[in-house]
């Protein structure tokens, strides 16, 4: 996740404008799918690895980026192996892994506020009726509160487990929704208390 991935640093990749990084990602993705098989994959992989080295990121960060998707990669490999054989299965999984690492390279070197600022810059020419500050705030709030909702979910799950309730989607969702809505009122007040109405 963007909020948890950022590794502080001063490398050229850290300092590059988020817009250029996203454009670079688009170029790599397009080349990996449109270019000739293994040579493009080799070049793309080398470029991503060079990016990791340039940003002074360790292999541990690459492993951490891939770990949540390891089962999907394994499933993909198994299906391709069954359908097309070893060579294509290896190619598809490696291509997917390079794509994930390329995206991770951006999240590891870019602060969420830089994304938001970049988005604000992109929206700058938009007409006055487009609520630019609100759009940017909505994105930063989502990034800020996803971990909080995840913690809240775990807290509710543990409280219910302590009272003997095993996993039950509705029993989890209802208190989560109620607490999230209650927090939303306070969050909204807090945002305006910090002069957000002066931002639009």
């Amino acid at each position: 996740m963007l909020t948890e991935a950022y590794i502080p640093g001063t490398s050229p990749l850290h300092r590059a404008r988020p817009l250029w990084k996203v454009l670079g990602l688009i170029v790599i993705c397009t080349a990996l799918f449109a270019g000739p098989g293994w040579p493009t994959l080799g070049l793309g992989g080398a470029a991503v690895l060079a990016g990791f080295a340039l940003a002074r990121l360790s292999p541990r960060h690459a492993v951490r980026a891939l770990r949540p998707l390891i089962w999907i990669l394994a499933l993909l490999f198994a299906v391709q192996l069954w359908l097309s054989g070893w060579a294509l299965a290896g190619f598809v999984v490696l291509r997917f892994a390079v794509l994930i690492l390329a995206a991770a390279l951006i999240t590891l070197t870019t602060r969420s506020s830089e994304f938001v600022d970049g988005l604000m810059a992109l929206l700058a020419p938009a007409p006055a009726w487009v609520p630019k500050a609100r759009i940017a705030l909505a994105i930063s709030l989502a990034l800020r509160f996803l971990p909080m909702v995840r913690d809240l979910l775990e807290e509710i799950r543990q409280a219910q487990a302590a009272r003997g309730l095993e996993r039950n989607l509705i029993a989890l969702a209802v208190p989560l929704l109620l607490r999230a809505l209650k927090s939303a009122d306070d969050i909204s007040a807090a945002i305006y208390a910090r002069s957000f109405d002066a931002a639009d």
Partner: protein
């Protein structure tokens, strides 16, 4: 030292009614002291009163003024507000980004934002938290960052709504030390009567009315006597 009249909060005929229920009955107040406490039972209306000062709450009748100004924007700019639960106040995922939030809203230049963030982090000894993820901070650290996020905007007055409720004793003492050292006017809602003992003035709110208003010792004694019944 007498306060600058342009930064004195005054409430004239202010009441708050919600869904037909009177939360605050009409009241007049002038808040010129440097340290003002607000106490009262749960649901007495003390938080609603505090939220009027920053313009978060809109009065049903009357006006809240800062000097001779009553626009909500002027109130928000001059009066900072620290909430009970810092999780609901911290907006950005990284400490430095969150501290910049209010300053960007004020459209300050980037250099000024950086200078002010450096100053507030140094002032509170929080420089090592600058690049930390806000959701990974301890409760005490979050409350300090919430307070820093308000002070970085350089308000004339800071309103704190039960800021120590979720803190352990160590962090409560640290917060109290910080609050004691603030140059800004402080208005604090609190159940922690010990924290208010050194204040200049305490208001007791009961059932939406100011039941007592004066030096801490007398008002707190009355509150304690009521609670003992």
């Amino acid at each position: 030292m007498s306060p600058d009249p342009s930064t004195v909060l005054t409430l004239q005929g202010v009441s708050v009614v919600k869904d037909g229920r009177t939360i605050l009955h009409p009241l007049d107040l002038t808040l010129a002291e440097r340290r003002i406490g607000i106490i009262g039972r749960n649901g007495s209306g003390k938080s609603t009163l505090a939220r009027l000062f920053n313009g978060i709450e809109t009065p049903s009748t009357g006006t809240v003024r800062l000097g001779d100004r009553s626009e909500r924007r002027a109130l928000r700019r001059a009066v900072g507000f620290v909430f009970q639960n810092p999780d609901n106040q911290i907006v950005y995922p990284i400490v430095e980004e969150d501290l910049a939030f209010g300053l960007k809203n004020l459209k300050l230049p980037a250099d000024e934002i950086r200078t002010r963030i450096d100053a507030v982090l140094d002032r509170f000894g929080l420089a090592d938290l600058r690049a930390r993820l806000t959701h990974q901070l301890s409760g005490g650290e979050k409350q300090m960052i919430a307070l820093a996020g308000v002070l970085v905007m350089r308000p004339a007055t800071v309103v704190l709504d039960e800021p120590a409720t979720l803190l352990d004793l160590w962090n409560r003492n640290r917060l109290m030390q910080l609050i004691t050292g603030l140059e800004e006017q402080v208005i604090m809602v609190s159940h922690d009567l010990e924290m208010l003992a050194g204040f200049d003035r305490v208001l007791l709110v009961e059932a939406g009315r100011i039941a007592a208003d004066g030096p801490p010792a007398a008002v707190i004694a009355r509150y304690r006597a009521g609670a003992a019944c």
